[in-house]
Symmetry: D4
């Protein structure tokens, strides 16, 4: 049963998010992936958010570019932690997505990551840090990864 | 029966939006005003959007600051034209709201206005231009206003 | 008889605007296209604006890059709704065009879209939303399009 | 025993962070507060990070302005989740702090919040969401808060 | 007979432009001042531009804030040199006006000055430099001013 | 005898400036070209500025990227009108050069053009506008060019 | 005999620079202060730079706002290390000064500090670090200061 | 024995930094190079900083992209002068790195260079200027280089 739900606005975002999926796999974190648009399929976004906790998810990773409302919309429909990854697809190179994701109003936070692939990978690492508070194997896996960096 | 629905994220936005309301009144356009948060009251936003056309609304004006998802969320739940007004409440002085509103993905547009009071007033004028295509009195009222500027 | 007048500053903008034209065609909206520069051919811009409503146009879509005065100049000569599309041709990648189009002074609004192709396509969708208030076939076509997205 | 460690770069940041502390209290989350500078007291930062998990902390909230290295430095010394709050103290009004906090390299994430007080409050809410995965009382408290917003 | 035509978008710009007028007076350059809006009074702008050279003007100084189309519009109707002064009235603090004025397309230049009062004063000095090529008294006055700075 | 002195910071800028030279030639304006660096060859810059008017120059066009001090330094050594062209060579894509050139302090103006090739061409057109106040053939040539645009 | 030469573009900058002077005094570094404008008094700037090393100066601190050419101009006339402090006097709040100072071309570096008072104080600390390589008392004074921070 | 310690966050930065190394060699300055990450290997960074002066280093050049904490972290562990080079690796093209490096808080300065290769080369030249105060051969070598530019 997946602990992390990864959602992205369009299939074209899959390549940038692949490092997040690889990282989750590498750390032994089960996840699911869905294509959901905050604007084109708002009902699908709502159903996803409303049912997320009940289906056993503990963290949601939402990636989007341009106006990038997906992480915030997801956060509006759930009380699970939502990690947002701003993507650089538009002419504004992700500054638009960054501002849309990070500047959430008080009450409904989104944990914003760096723009693009570094942010996608870190979304997985942050999910592991969060899940590691409760799931020992995940904490151990992330701590192993960090120890491995020391030699680097 | 109101033709224009004005929605804003919080009561604290009312002062900046007052010029929009005054302008609508001055042009003889009936309107209603609601406080709706895209993130804190997403179900209220959804109901508003889904029922808007059926209740006779023809244009929605949505104002928001910071992440400013309200105009886009409203547009996701209706096929009526949505006019977005970015507000300058955050430390980023409205650039965040501007990017969140103007950079909507293809398929679900929002008509973005200037940041702050100039944008609020222009939201009303744009609503009048749109409604004027169908409602002669509104077109005439806006054309009178523009003629009046010639002396300025 | 065209309902939408599409104007652009130079022939080199045609490629970016093609999605707008395709979208209008797909929604069954008749349109015309003209090359008009706010600065190089101001009299042509003025004539276009002054005669637009009389010739049956109901919405103007104006696209421009860099200083991007075309949408605002068009709006100064007509009381029809003007939709502005900022293009990314200059070294500033469309931020210049965005600010020039969106920051219109009170009284003479321009409905600003996203920078580049997403904005071009949305200009057509917004035109359809506006025209759909009066023309049932266009409203139905846009609603069909939006319903089609639900499956996406 | 505190679950959340709140650290800030200087005493002058205390006022902006007060809403975070109030929010944690309101949600029944125990916390501790320390003044630690990434640059002026790096050894203190190191000790704090290295001992954090052992002392029972589960989440660190780090706030800083200008170069704003504190959240990233804290994250370099611990594997606990670190939430970063960019402050607007410098002439760049927090854009500097935002970029310094959000653009962390792959491997060592920081969960970035909005600039200033909205971000400070959301750091507390995100901490509650994270802790709520494990601590039922905190989850319930946050869910109550969110339900309370529905009437708003 | 005035050699310099100073135009501004609204009466509220007069205070920022006063240093330009004082500087012109101090250098012995005759000027006239008009309130003209590129968007609200486009015909007035056109008449001004078309008749400018014939009325003896040799340089136009145009100041505007926000979308700031006035200098470019003026340049579109005349072949006289146009000096543009971006004003900081909007929430974007003049960056919008700067980009709108400086990023003119090839063929129709505007000489852009700094944002605000420094730019206003320099518009007058640049006008004096330009006029000084032909009018010895003005060149001498500006050279005297520059010599006077050496002691500073 | 050249009326316009074109200076650039390095040989690598020559390609971007070629349109300026072509435009000057096309309008029948004699010019000279020099490579001068404000920072690497400050004495050469000083000599150029001090002797410019005496050698018959009436306008200086200075192009530079990055810190882009050349136009301002040139203006500090002469009272001739200086036109500045910001180039986009650095990672900041010319925004650095734009700010360095346009934000000159009161007393010593630089007429700033658009970033890159459009700005380079307009530097030549502005030079022609300025020179045209005194040299009828140049005024006529520029007016011919502008008339030719009307057909465009 | 002063080791550090502090230069600023105008008397109005003195207040922002006072912390730099206080810091130099506190560390026992002798200094001199001069008002020099890169643009209004270029010959004074040149003489200062050319004679600096001969007069015993070992570091120059140059502060300026807006186009902020003073540090770069100073660096063009000397081979001593030049520390630049961008000031926030203009409407662009020091971003203009920052870009003008930091983006120096290869060959003639300026050591750029933070915008405003924090940068002014750090210019003094950096000067002390540099001088401390050669002057033991200054190194000791700075090391004492840093040790004192540890208790903070 | 090396006088300059060059550190970079990752091996992928080596190519951008090569000009700095070539410049140091050309000026006869001995240096060493290390890969150290402020976040992934904080203990290595600490050891490097703490031992730097004792090992004979006199200047540290630290280059980093994105959040770019390396120069500031290095400065927190040493009292030697630290020169920071912002790299353009992220989607924000080095503006993030620039702000993270230049906006250091009072007390712990970093001498910030231009973004990318120009900054890398200037880091070497600034190191030579600093070392030249004490080491005559290095001063002479840099002065020779600057004299050589005069012919350029």
């Amino acid at each position: 049963m997946p602990l992390v739900g990864v959602v992205m606005g369009s299939k074209s975002d899959a390549e940038v998010l692949q490092p997040a999926l690889d990282t989750l796999s590498h750390l032994g974190v089960e996840y699911e992936v869905n294509i959901i648009s905050a604007h084109r399929t708002p009902e699908k976004a709502r159903q996803y958010g409303i049912t997320a906790r009940g289906r056993g998810l503990e963290v949601i990773i939402a990636a989007a570019g341009a106006a990038a409302h997906l992480p915030g919309v997801m956060a509006s429909w759930t009380t699970l932690p939502v990690i947002g990854v701003p993507l650089a697809g538009s002419e504004l190179k992700g500054v638009d997505a960054l501002y849309s994701i990070v500047q959430m109003p008080a009450g409904v936070p989104v944990a914003c990551m760096a723009i693009g692939q570094a942010g996608a990978r870190n979304a997985a690492y942050l999910a592991a840090q969060i899940l590691g508070l409760k799931h020992d194997a995940i904490r151990t896996a992330y701590e192993q990864y960090r120890k491995g960096l020391q030699g680097g």
